[in-house]
Symmetry: C2
């Protein structure tokens, strides 16, 4: 025995522990490097395993990403229920939804970018668990709108899905500069402005339309009466 062979002591762990360790390492590397530039070997090294081990727990790099993102998303959803339920009035609730989404993007920029870029555009996103979580996330918005309609605050002929797309689409598009690392994302102001912009289109048409025409007719009547009075 000429060379000192370094003997690696292998300790076997439960599936749960290893999986958690790999997912934690993957989250960090993905968030740090992005999907493309994250190497499975780096994730493996950080998790303290060898590359092949990851494939015992995850089908592919994409599967790993999806499950890591799903774990994060579940955390987001957990404390979302209470938040919405506690707020009264459609305007306040929409403001909260918009604000909350903006704040999430602001505080979790790296993960949101991963979600927008790698997860949501993947071909098998639709059939994935994380898509299901996303539906649950956006369903809050749909519920708020439907309750607003039921309460008579909001136009009943609204395309609720389009409003949902408007809210999330606008916010995402608006956030890209920030997500790209350029410029800031002003959460409060943007939330205010978006709600102000959106709300008039949601509310029932001002009943003053009818009122105005009636009043205008009365105005013309007054004019005639005034003239008639002058004639006397």
């Amino acid at each position: 025995m000429s060379a000192v062979t370094q003997k690696r002591v292998v300790t076997r762990q439960s599936r749960e522990q290893r999986e958690a360790a790999i997912m934690e390492a993957a989250l960090r590397v993905f968030a740090d490097k992005g999907y493309e530039d994250a190497a499975m070997s780096e994730i493996a090294a950080l998790a303290g395993v060898v590359e092949g081990t990851i494939y015992k727990y995850f089908d592919s790099k994409q599967d790993l990403l999806f499950r890591v993102m799903a774990g994060w998303y579940e955390g987001l959803l957990r404390d979302y229920d209470q938040g919405v339920a506690a707020i009264q009035g459609t305007r306040n609730r929409l403001r909260y939804i918009v604000w909350r989404h903006l704040r999430t993007i602001h505080d979790h920029a790296a993960l949101c970018r991963l979600f927008f870029r790698e997860v949501r555009t993947a071909s098998d996103y639709y059939a994935s668990h994380i898509h299901d979580l996303n539906r649950r996330y956006t369903r809050f918005t749909v519920r708020i709108l439907k309750e607003g309609i039921a309460a008579g605050e909001i136009r009943a002929d609204l395309n609720v899905g389009l409003v949902r797309d408007l809210i999330y689409g606008t916010i995402e598009h608006h956030s890209w500069n920030y997500l790209r690392g350029l410029g800031e994302l002003t959460v409060e102001d943007t939330a205010d402005q978006l709600v102000e912009l959106l709300l008039p289109g949601l509310l029932l048409p001002r009943p003053s339309a009818e009122l105005e025409t009636n009043v205008a007719r009365l105005g013309r009547l007054v004019e005639r009466l005034e003239k008639a009075a002058g004639d006397v």
Copy 2:
């Protein structure tokens, strides 16, 4: 010479011709397979060259994509100017912008997906020529809004950039299902609905001044009538 060596006849072409041939092949393969799954070898084969040749004309796969997409984008922009200029009124113009964008997505689904997924999210998009083209594309919207403000049709305190993000963000988000190959994209209906949804938030608050003067006059009339009734 025992074996018949197949001699490839190499014809040299001008830079322009080769570049065009490669870009055309790349466009087709990218549109067909998407960026990831498009192999440089396949593009080379379709263009009738060998892989290495592509790198004489393009720095990298991403450079090839960017220049192919820029070529397509320039075509889009060419017949955009006239379209907008011919339309009068902010509402009609916005309807046109929205409709046009939806129609482009509808008719160029594969390329739009490429643009959204691969180009716009790339880290060096901001410094690229195609980003410049995109700015020119969206500037139409900004101009329409500013002209609407100047004409007194639209609120002057509007965050024009946010409205731009709203239009493009909403449309993109709304189109993803279609781009993913699931479901249809109803161009006309969506254009109508989005404009209806957006417009109330843009318009100046209805000038109820007229209403107020009319009501005041009616008040005075009532007073006179009451007095007259009392006098009798």
